[in-house]
Each structure stands twice: as structure tokens, then as C-alpha cells.
Amino acid sequence: MDNKFYKAKEIIASRLELPRDILLDLPKITILSNNEINIENHKGVVIFEEEEIKINSNAGPISIYGKNFKILFIGGNTITLSGNFKSVVYESYE
């Protein structure tokens, strides 16, 4: 049921050329160089370690590998991270 509703939303969004990130609550990820990343529409921090940060989202968890992590801002539905990034991984990829 939920899935159907979601699919319908997706179709409407694509038909009407509405911004999908808002309508479907998808994460919008902005990466600045290798040291700042900004994720909108996230669903909370799952792991916050020395060399890995995992952030939940509607598109599945997103892992960021690197070091010297720091959460510059967390509030509303935005999270901003800084640090020295090695890779950004979508964990939901099969």
C-alpha cells in the first residue's frame, strides 16, 4: 500500500516536472570538494565514528568514509559535515 502510494507520487512528480526531492523526500546531497558535505532530508545519524559516518535517508543509508569528522550543523532536516573524505557510499546498492 505504502509502496503503491510512493510509486504514484513518483509518477506524478515526473509527469508534472515537480522537484522530486521535495515531493518524495529524497536526500539532496551537496559535496564541496573533499571536505564538506551537506545532506537535506536526512533521517538521522546512525553511526558516528572516527573514520565513518552513516546517515539514514529515504534512499537508504549513506556512508561517508574519511577522517577528522565533525558535524558542523544538525537541525531541521539538514546536516552538514566537515572532514577529510575518502568516499561516499550508498549502502542500499545491490
Partner: protein, 389 residues
């Protein structure tokens, strides 16, 4: 709890805190879910995280911390709010600052000093007193002083003032004055007059620039005699003038002095003895007393302290023979002392006579000087004195 609710009004404070829990991510998520904005989250180790939050949200944070068994330690605080909180507990300091400011402001509404700049003739002291009489003095409210009116009053009271500026400068009333520069008065003395002798003497030379000379070289003149007459012209057309000129005259200054052949005077030998005593009533109690071995002595008493002192100085009588040469010089110097600088000494005559037991010394100084001085023309007397001659 109440205190925590109170924190809500502090919008401009932020605190940095260190949290310790088994799963700090959970705590962060909870903060986020409760709409608490966190900044600069940094992991120290597995269980410890440092983060920055707003002070107004501290109440909710502590609630969450209790629920998740998280230990919260505040390590730094910053912002205006903390300053205000501190001030609240030191309100007397704040009061002092406000009071200080207001007192300074209040005192600055008074005039505390009057500075007066004048030029040559008007003394600031006089002006100060004058202003005081107008009711302007230090300690007056600024708004009660009308500088323009004061300017007018001062100029009206002083004729010598050409320009005046009175302004209030801070707590000072500054008054600047420029005086009227009156042109110099040229004293022209053209009233007719004679030249009259101011001393006795024998005329040696006569110079006249105006007037007719009556005396010639060799005349003996007395004090008050007319030397140059204030007239000029031929017999029929004589007109009065302001006589001017120099009449150089030999004058004599005489002084006599008697000097004894033998002067007996006391001379100290240098030996002395002193006694100490205390005076009670009329009785003297001696602390130190010695018999005086001198035949002649001077006694000096020193009475200014409680313990009084008598000093006996031995003296000897000595005969100093009178010195006529020294006496002569003394007399001469004495005469010179009384003479004007313009007087030129020509000669000095000594005359020493021996009396029974003394010299009689006479010194005469012959000098040359200008004795012409202005004298009024008294028409009748003039003619009479001329007739006499």
C-alpha cells in the same frame, strides 16, 4: 526545573558540552528529533562527544540526557546571556557604573572654572571680580549663563575692551578679551618757562636752545636764580618761549667729621665660659656653675629654651689710634654716594685740623653739573629781579 525554564529567555547564549553515553549517536538523533539545533559535533572517543547547543534549549537537553543515561558536562559557555547573568549577581557594580555616569553627566552641567585671557592692561583678577558681581561664578548651572548677555555687560563696564568672546567650553567658561589700542599721547610741552638754578655754584658754561641766557661763565648763582629767561626776540617784539638748555655749573659739596686720637674699644680674646641654669620664678637653679676668672667680660644670656645658658666672653680693652687718611676716604665716599650719576667730580680738597684730642677733617668735593631746571614765569617778580641786577 524552574531554573531550567528560566533559561529559555536567554536567546543569545550558547554552551559547549561534553556528553558521555554508550551510544552517543542515539543522543544526537534524539536532539535532532526534538528539534534542537546542534553545532560542531566532534567525537573524542567511542563514548564521548563534544557539541555546541543553545542555552535556551538546555532544559530539553537535560531531559533527553536523563532518559538516555547520558552524562552532560558543560565545558565552555559564550555569548551575551552569560554576561547578563553575571551582571545580575553584581547589580551593585552595574548600579555604580550607572551612578558614576549620571553623576559625571550631572556635574558637567555646571561651570566649574572661569578662564580669562586678557592682553596688557585689564587684569584677569579684576575681571573675575567684576563677573562675580554680575553673578557669574564657578558652580553655576550652564543653562543659567547667557554668554551673550555677559559679553555685553562686560563691554559696557569696561571702556578698554574692543572685542570680547565668552563661551562655555566643557565645564569651563572661557573669556577672551582684546583691548582697545589707543594711540600714544605725544606730550608736547610748549608752555613758556624759565630755566632756574636748582643748586648754588659758579657758572662755567651755558648752552641754550631756546630762550635768552641771563648768566655768563664766571657768575655765581644761587638756588632759585633765573638762568635762562623764557623770552626771545628783539626788544619791541618779545615773545615767550619754552626755555631749553644746559647751564653747567661748578658745585661744592662739603662735609666735616671729627676723629678722636685715641679710640678705646673692647676686643674679644676668644676665651669663654658658659653656665647652665633653670629659672623657676625668680630663682635660678644652676646646673653648671663656674667662677668667672676674667676681669673684663661680656655676658650673653640665651633664654629661649627651658635650660638657659649664660656665656661669658673675655674681653680686653684696646687702644686704636685715629686714622685721618681712612676717615678722609670715608667722608669722600659718603659724599659721592649722595651725588647723581650725571655729576662729574673735578677736584677734592682735604683740610685736616688738629684740636685738643681729635682731628677735624673737612672734605670739599668740587663737581661739575647741569643745574638748569624748569621754572614758571612769574612776570612781575621777573622784572623786579632783573631790575635788581
Amino acid at each position: 526545573m524552574k531554573a531550567m525554564n528560566n533559561l529559555k529567555k536567554y536567546k543569545k547564549g550558547s554552551i559547549t558540552m561534553e556528553i558521555q553515553s554508550l551510544i552517543p549517536e542515539k543522543f544526537i538523533n534524539l536532539l535532532w528529533k526534538n528539534g534542537i539545533v546542534a553545532k560542531n559535533i566532534k567525537k573524542i572517543n567511542i563514548t564521548t562527544v563534544v557539541l555546541e547547543v543553545k542555552l535556551s534549549q538546555y532544559g530539553e537537553i537535560s531531559k533527553i540526557a536523563k532518559r538516555t543515561n547520558t552524562r552532560v558536562k558543560i565545558i565552555r559557555r559564550s555569548g551575551m546571556s552569560f554576561f547578563l547573568i553575571k551582571l545580575k549577581s553584581r547589580y551593585s557594580l552595574l548600579l555604580g557604573v550607572v551612578l558614576f555616569g549620571s553623576i559625571i553627566y550631572y556635574l558637567s552641567t555646571f561651570v566649574w572654572n572661569i578662564e580669562i585671557n586678557t592682553e596688557n592692561y585689564i587684569s584677569p583678577y579684576e575681571l573675575r571680580n567684576q563677573i562675580k558681581a554680575f553673578g557669574v561664578k564657578p558652580g553655576l548651572r550652564k543653562k543659567n549663563i547667557d554668554v551673550y548677555e555677559l559679553e555685553n555687560k562686560i563691554t559696557r563696564a569696561n571702556d578698554e575692551i574692543m572685542w570680547i568672546k565668552a563661551r562655555i567650553d566643557g565645564v569651563k567658561l572661557k573669556i577672551d578679551i582684546i583691548e582697545r589700542q589707543s594711540p600714544p599721547i605725544i606730550v608736547s610741552n610748549q608752555t613758556p618757562c624759565n630755566l632756574v638754578a636748582s643748586k648754588d655754584g659758579i657758572v662755567t658754561r651755558v648752552f641754550t636752545t631756546e630762550g635768552t641766557a641771563i648768566v655768563i661763565a664766571g657768575d655765581v648763582v644761587q638756588k632759585g636764580d633765573i638762568l635762562v629767561k623764557g623770552e626771545q626776540g628783539k626788544e619791541e617784539s618779545v615773545y615767550p618761549v619754552h626755555a631749553q638748555g644746559q647751564v653747567i655749573v661748578k658745585t661744592f659739596y662739603e662735609e666735616t667729621k671729627e676723629v678722636l686720637f685715641n679710640n678705646i674699644s673692647k676686643v674679644k680674646t676668644g676665651n669663654s665660659i658658659s653656665n647652665l641654669y633653670i629659672k623657676i620664678g625668680n630663682k635660678k637653679i644652676y646646673l653648671k656653675n663656674t667662677v668667672i676668672p676674667y676681669s673684663n667680660y661680656d655676658k650673653i644670656e640665651n633664654n629661649d629654651k627651658i635650660i638657659k645658658k649664660e656665656t661669658y666672653n673675655e674681653t680686653q680693652e684696646k687702644n686704636i689710634p685715629g686714622d685721618e687718611v681712612k676717615a678722609k676716604d670715608e667722608i669722600y665716599a659718603n659724599i659721592l654716594k649722595n651725588l647723581d650719576k650725571s655729576v662729574k667730580v673735578i677736584d677734592k680738597i682735604y683740610n685736616v685740623k688738629k684740636d685738643k684730642d681729635k682731628y677735624i677733617i673737612k672734605v670739599v668735593v668740587v663737581a661739575q653739573e647741569d643745574i638748569a631746571s624748569e621754572g614758571k614765569i612769574v612776570p612781575e617778580e621777573n622784572s623786579v629781579s632783573e631790575d635788581k641786577k
